[in-house]
């Protein structure tokens, strides 16, 4: 027979029964997030910053140390330098990282709500939890890429500027630093993404989410800076409300570094508690919203 | 009172950027209900925006009761619009919106409230008018939109898909309401895709395709003007061949379709002759005909003829 059926054809390929149903959501969100012009421009900016840090900081260690230590810079080992550069880099990018999460994540749930796309997900074998995971992990992954790739490049650069006979032992010694960087990047990205997605769900508009997110991040930072004047038992929780600082405290803890002029720092436990609370709150808000969606208008 | 309610378009062309949405339209909408029809993308929505002064024409002019709608805001007191989309103020009741919009016409609070209430009652929202609109069903929102369009007693009413989302009971009510509004002497322009409902509201239509007006008038007038289209008549019969033999002999018959076993479909250029001959044959020679019915006289058929094949 040479005339083939023209109309509808049934699907013979079968369906998988994937356990990780949120993965397509993450993949799609990641693709959308990294394809935009904004992401590429921001990426370029990050490259500039990495080059600046790599060249300036590794080559001019004096810039990194408090004045009182400068006389004895000879005692600073290359290992110390490496860790300090990494900690300093995290602080330099503190203002930019939330922007990535904001631009990528602000629309995630809000756009779905406005274009009434939520039912399209929920009438498929996708649970509210899958939806939440997908929607949070996508901006988290984009943020982690934007933040992590330059960061890891900086570690690599720090290793490569050692003489060739030192390089392997040096790299080996700094495997934990790399681990700390990766963990820090992951935690930062996840925390910001959770907050953005939570706000996106609550506010329901992309722009409103951006304003609210800027308020939360900036407000947290203000609270941290002003916490010095607060009574001691209140100061600690106030400090921990700055998400970026919380994530950096973890990094400092793992790298065993303290940076000067960073302002008041929260304790590790409260930092972890706040970060975890952000993620859990996000789960609660998004899952509840997805549960309550009416399938018909 | 100034001139009778009317909307006139004189050589109106509208383009956005390089997109030409309305192309040299000259048309008049007078008192009574007129259906504005056309396939998607025909330029109906743009025409509605031109008429209500949201857009100004690129070429030509629009006259709303003899005045361009963009000349001064007060012309707008004579227009009511039911927009196609479903814009709502969250957390606000239909009564609040309607009375606020009335106050934009310069009414004081008390007047606005009583007129708003009257309009909402007229569209059947008496019970729900104090509830927030976002909790309304789609049909109730449609009614709320209609109420705000009616409340200031406009001469010209432009309704874009007013039956969208209404349930069958609501459709009946709103169709009756639109008919009543037309009978009151207002100029009512109804855009819709659901032809049988347009047919229920009015016999007068304006058909658009590709930004141009391709026909206007009553359905029967338009059908008559389509004289190049033969009339198709379905004849139900137990013996199609016998009827076919008869039909072939009638003056003006172009074709006889015998593909079904219980009917023939006859296409003719001279329908009157066919009907007369058939009546004669049934009564005189006992031609076995159960029933007959022209299939392409209605709005649906006219619409199809005019919009098919690139119009």
């Amino acid at each position: 027979m040479t005339v083939h059926a023209r109309g509808y054809r049934r699907h013979e390929g079968g369906t998988e029964r994937p356990r990780l149903r949120f993965l397509p959501i993450v993949a799609e969100g990641y693709r959308a997030g990294t394809r935009g012009k904004a992401f590429r421009r921001l990426g370029l900016l990050f490259v500039v910053i990495v080059v600046f840090h790599g060249v300036m900081l590794y080559l001019d260690p004096a810039a990194l140390f408090p004045r009182r230590m400068r006389g004895g810079l000879g005692q600073v080992t290359s290992d110390d330098l490496m860790r300090r550069v990494l900690a300093f880099f995290a602080r330099s990018l503190a203002g930019l990282v939330p922007l990535v999460a904001m631009f990528v994540g602000a629309g995630s749930v809000a756009d779905d709500l406005r274009s009434r796309a939520l039912p399209l997900y929920l009438v498929r074998p996708v649970t509210p939890t899958d939806y939440w995971l997908g929607k949070v992990l996508a901006p988290a992954a984009v943020t982690a890429t934007a933040y992590g790739v330059p960061f890891v490049a900086l570690v690599a650069f720090g290793v490569l500027i050692r003489p060739s006979e030192e390089i392997l032992p040096f790299a080996w010694r700094h495997l934990p630093s790399l681990g700390a960087v990766v963990l820090h990047v992951g935690v930062t990205a996840l925390a910001y993404a959770s907050v953005v997605v939570t706000l996106s769900t609550l506010v329901g508009r992309r722009i409103g989410t951006m304003v609210a997110f800027a308020g939360v991040v900036y407000g947290g930072e203000m609270l941290r800076l002003f916490s010095q004047t607060a009574p001691p038992d209140l100061a600690e929780p106030l400090r921990a409300l700055s998400l970026g600082t919380d994530a950096r405290v973890l990094l400092h803890e793992m790298l065993d570094v303290t940076l000067e002029h960073s302002g008041p720092q929260p304790a590790v436990t409260s930092a972890v508690a706040v970060l975890a609370a952000c993620v859990l709150l996000g789960a609660l808000v998004v899952v509840r919203r997805a549960r309550s969606v009416e399938v018909t208008s | 009172m100034s001139a009778a309610p009317s909307v006139r378009l004189e050589g109106v062309t509208k383009s956005y950027g390089d997109v030409l949405a309305v192309n040299d339209v000259t048309a008049t909408f007078g008192p009574g209900v007129t259906g504005l029809l056309g396939p998607n993308g025909a330029g109906k929505s743009t025409l509605i925006k031109l008429v209500t002064g949201m857009l100004s024409p690129s070429i030509g002019r629009v006259l709303l009761c003899d005045e361009p709608p963009t000349s001064s805001p007060h012309v707008m007191a004579r227009v009511g619009l039911v927009p196609e989309q479903d814009p709502i103020y969250p957390g606000v009741s239909a009564f609040e919106v309607t009375s606020y919009l009335l106050r934009l016409h310069g009414l004081d609070r008390g007047d606005a409230a009583s007129r708003a209430r009257a309009a909402l009652e007229r569209v059947g929202l008496a019970a729900a008018m104090d509830r927030p609109v976002q909790g309304y069903s789609k049909g109730m929102r449609q009614r709320a939109k209609l109420a705000q369009a009616l409340a200031h007693d406009p001469d010209v009413l432009v309704l874009d898909e007013p039956l969208n989302g209404l349930d069958p009971v609501g459709r009946r009510e709103i169709v009756a309401l639109v008919q009543a509004l037309g009978a009151e002497g207002r100029c009512v322009v109804v855009s819709s895709h659901v032809l049988h409902e347009v047919e229920a509201m009015t016999r007068r239509v304006l058909l658009m395709a590709h930004g141009r007006v391709i026909a206007e008038g009553t359905v029967a007038e338009i059908r008559r003007d389509l004289s190049d289209r033969p009339l198709t008549v379905r004849v139900d019969t137990p013996s199609p061949r016998e009827v076919a033999r008869f039909a072939v002999g009638v003056e003006g018959v172009l074709s006889v379709d015998l593909s079904a076993s219980d009917r023939v479909v006859v296409a003719t250029r001279r329908p009157d002759d066919l009907f007369a001959a058939m009546a004669g044959a049934v009564l005189g020679q006992g031609l076995p005909v159960r029933s007959f019915h022209p299939t392409d006289e209605g709005l649906e058929a006219v619409f199809r003829y005019l919009t098919a094949g690139g119009a």
Partner: protein, 279 residues
């Protein structure tokens, strides 16, 4: 209906449109959140101030950086900026475009509603900060601070409002402007400060109340003396010159000019725009 009205007087039915905008805004969750956060922050930081060694100097700092420098742009962003842009995005504007109201009136009325609401929040925040700080600076100072905060929201808000109404991504531009220009530039040394609108708003405050604060705190006296004189920053290891505050009349003029230009330009463009409302 009154069909024989020849032409509408300018800004006719302004009150109706503005009152509606105001009532709508005050009833929204957005307002509750912004007002609660602003007042809460005012009270909290005011309380911190009261525990300071020199509460008077700390209060001035708080009013200057906290209320005017930070809260005012954020309140303006939250409450004033969206007024018109949201109606376009929600398509509720379509109901207004077919009413006998001029578009300029609508545009200005929506601004007035947002600005009034935001100004209320800003002023309340300033008063709360005063009260919580326990400094009892006197009615004149409290009133001046409240007035300046209100004027600040109205000024910054006008700019944001016009941006948001004119460009689809206007609020994003406003956001960037807030964080880059307002929050960064205003704390930099040199003329660059004057590019920040809040610099002029802060000038209003300083010109109005500095003397009262100086009368009660040496730290304020020193801060006033520092401004405009070159000094050496040991931290940065470089000399800096803080830009002097704008004089009261020119600061007021700058603020007024920003409001007027934003509204006039905005209204002109909005009136002439084709409201395709497709999107």
């Amino acid at each position: 209906m009154n069909r024989d009205t020849p032409r509408l007087p300018p800004l006719a039915r302004f009150g109706v449109a503005a009152a509606w905008g105001f009532a709508r805004l005050v009833r929204r969750r957005k307002f509750t959140v912004v007002a609660a956060v602003a007042l809460g922050a005012g009270a909290l930081f005011g309380w911190f101030v009261s525990r300071n060694q020199d509460p008077v100097a700390a209060l001035l700092e708080l009013l200057d950086h906290g209320v005017l420098g930070t809260a005012v742009p954020l309140v303006a962003l939250g409450l004033v900026a969206g007024g018109f842009g949201e109606e376009v995005a929600d398509r509720t504007l379509v109901y207004h475009l077919v009413r006998p109201v001029s578009r300029t009136t609508l545009f200005v009325a929506r601004y007035a509603a947002g600005a009034a609401t935001g100004a209320l929040v800003g002023a309340a925040m300033a008063v709360v900060a005063h009260v919580a700080s326990g400094t009892s600076m006197g009615v004149r100072v409290v009133a001046s601070s409240a007035l300046v905060a209100a004027a600040g929201v109205a000024t910054v808000g006008a700019l944001y409002y016009a941006l948001a109404a004119l460009f689809r991504r206007g609020i994003v531009a406003a956001l960037v402007y807030t964080f880059v220009v307002e929050l960064l530039f205003q704390n930099m040394p040199g003329t660059v400060q004057r590019l920040a609108l809040t610099h002029h708003v802060r000038s209003l405050l300083h010109r109005l109340v500095d003397d009262d604060f100086a009368a009660r705190s040496d730290a304020v006296v020193r801060a006033i003396a520092d401004r405009g004189t070159p000094r050496f920053d040991p931290q940065a290891m470089r000399p800096i010159v803080e830009e002097p505050w704008t004089t009261l009349p020119s600061a007021a003029l700058v603020c007024a000019a920003v409001v007027v230009v934003s509204l006039v330009v905005g209204a002109r463009i909005v009136t002439r725009r084709d409201w395709a409302l497709k999107e």
